[in-house]
Symmetry: C2
DNA sequence: ATAAATACTTTGACAGACGAGGTATAATTG
DNA sequence: CAATTATACCTCGTCTGTCAAAGTATTTAT
């Protein structure tokens, strides 16, 4: 896809997912599509990465999930961000701003 | 030290080291001090991280090393950046600029 | 009919970060 | 002068996030 190695994005997966869920509940496939669109196809999350992140975030109480009531098409597991998740998002965003400065001053 | 989780810096260790070696040959301890100074103490590399990065970079041919000829004090292993290392540094820096944009557009 | 798209899941391997521990010398400090 | 701190390097083993590979199931397009 891109030359951007995964280690540069590593650690942001959770925040990216939380960011997507701020505006509305969503499901894995849609979230991944949104990521691709937002980055004009320059980046996409790997499925396994995404779903393991969902599991982790749910265990941490940052998101909750429920099955959609689609009568047609494949079933969808929707995710919803929690209060805790929103707080984590804000914290992560601040950390990102700081990390950005740190890295910029080092390279 | 800081709240910045290691995963946010992960993947930048190599580039940070290479950046330090651009101006002059240096050794582990000094490089780590320089990192702390450049970030006003907000970040320091863990020793184990640093030395495993040195090993990796040397295996990849991005740096070479030699023992300093100190007659006093602890012995120092100096590192020198290679042509390959310089090229990698430039590439990594570009990748960082792109990654920064990507992440900013996603969170 | 077949392929492609939608949608989710599990397993196992890998790589980078790092805690914990170790070695050795020189300088400082009480 | 003994003890501590600073300088300087190294190894081992563990942890965590990423991801390739493989699988299941449905719907739409060719």
């Amino acid at each position: 896809m891109v030359s951007i190695t995964s280690d540069l994005i590593r650690g942001h997966t959770d925040t990216i997912i939380l960011a997507q869920l701020l505006s509305k509940d969503s499901y894995g496939y849609e979230i991944n599509k949104a990521i691709q669109e937002k980055t004009q196809g320059r980046y996409e999350a790997k499925e396994a990465t995404l779903y393991s992140a969902f599991r982790r975030l749910e265990e941490l109480g940052m998101i909750t999930s429920y099955w959609g009531d689609e009568t047609t098409g494949a079933r969808r597991r929707y995710y919803s961000i929690t209060k805790l998740g929103k707080a984590a998002y804000e914290k992560n965003k601040e950390d990102w701003l700081e990390a950005k400065e740190l890295i910029d001053s080092l390279i």
